[in-house]
């Protein structure tokens, strides 16, 4: 790896809003309730304060995100993170890709996987199981209309159950959502000196 990967998971969310964040001092009760659960359980940052302008949507999306990314059993969490990285990379959200690449590496202790994706993108050659996950994630992100029943075969051939394939689908789809919010309601700001490898 050419540059150290910044650890975003323990720092504040570096994100500059384009919509004025909600002022907690004037927030309605419904907005305060909606802010209690945030997808990654951080202190309330600008991103959540922007989303709190629509508390009804936020109140449902936060537990949906948590259920998809952290739900018990099923697809290992690291594989969900790989789906998130693939989607984020294709959708152009370097910040999102970096955060989830780091989580993958923390969970797997396999830094070489994200180093290969850093170098070669979603065309990276990994082991057959990870490549099956990566290929499906990339295709689902790029063009969901192109998915056919035949696309399940490579995943099943690598031992994924239908439950695990559903979990992967949910994770990739969630980043079709998350990447769009994060890049269009404001901008992730990453100091150039820190690098942003993905």
């Amino acid at each position: 790896m050419s540059k150290p990967m910044r650890d975003f998971t323990h720092g504040e969310l570096e994100w500059r809003p384009w919509v004025p964040p909600l002022d907690l001092n004037t927030a309605r009760q419904e907005q305060l309730v909606a802010l209690k659960v945030t997808p990654s359980n951080r202190a309330v940052g600008a991103y959540s304060l922007v989303l709190a302008h629509d508390p009804e949507a936020l109140s449902e999306r936060s537990p949906l995100y948590n259920g998809i990314m952290f739900g018990q059993k099923g697809l290992p969490r690291a594989d969900r993170e790989l789906g998130a990285v693939a989607a984020s990379r294709i959708n152009g959200c370097a910040y999102c890709a970096s955060v989830h690449a780091l989580r993958f590496t923390q969970l797997t202790k396999r830094p070489e996987v994200m180093e290969r994706i850093q170098a070669d993108g979603v065309e990276a050659v990994l082991d057959p199981r990870l490549n099956a996950i990566l290929d499906y994630s990339a295709k689902l992100t790029r063009d969901p209309a192109a998915i056919t029943p035949a696309d399940a075969a490579p995943l099943r051939a690598q031992g994924l159950t239908d439950m695990e394939i559903l979990d992967l689908t949910h994770a990739v789809a969630m980043f079709a959502w998350a990447n769009r919010l994060m890049q269009t309601l404001g901008e992730p700001t990453t100091p150039a000196a820190q690098g942003n490898p993905l």
């Binding site: 919509v19 399940a152 689908t169």
Partner: protein
């Protein structure tokens, strides 16, 4: 048939393998439907009207070439905009004459096709045509949600077809 929107769109009947598979993730089923309700039938729409919501969703579904989703939002829009004014701008290539709707539609296309190229000016244009912060966030959630929904639907169809 279940009254769950994803079951309906994917054609999943109770007792079938894909239907039962989804029930192993009850939180996802619950809050996916909850998100749909919050986005399309909110108690407070923040000034983004139900018809504008349905028409924006129809545009996303068309951009993604998702026939089931397109039919779903076309039918919803028809009940909210019986004169077909918005539908013609989305599907018929009709001339757009209203600045507000023009700006919304442009934003739908941008966020669906090229979210990485969005800029502050794109939000400022929505503000300039009168959208509140609430309406802008609602529109953003809606566009992103339908992009999510289409991918979940693609996966469910794949699993249904491969079972």
């Amino acid at each position: 048939m279940s009254d769950d929107v994803m079951d309906q769109l994917a054609g999943l009947a109770p007792g079938t393998a894909a239907f039962e598979l989804r029930r192993q993730r009850p939180d996802v089923v619950k809050h996916l439907q909850g998100s749909d309700d919050a986005i399309f039938s909110p108690a407070d729409d923040g000034g983004l009207t139900p018809a504008e919501r349905a028409a924006s969703a129809l545009r996303v579904a068309e951009l993604l070439r998702d026939d089931a989703l397109t039919g779903h939002y076309r039918a919803r829009l028809a009940t909210l905009d019986p004169a077909g004014t918005l539908a013609r701008t989305v599907e018929g290539g009709a001339q757009i004459t209203e600045g507000r709707w023009d700006a919304i539609l442009a934003h739908v296309d941008l966020v669906t096709r090229g979210p990485a190229s969005a800029e502050r000016d794109d939000i400022d244009e929505l503000t300039a045509v009168g959208l509140s912060s609430h309406a802008i966030v609602s529109l953003s959630q809606l566009i992103a949600y339908v992009n999510f929904q289409s991918r979940v639907l693609a996966g469910l169809r794949m699993l249904k077809g491969a079972s």
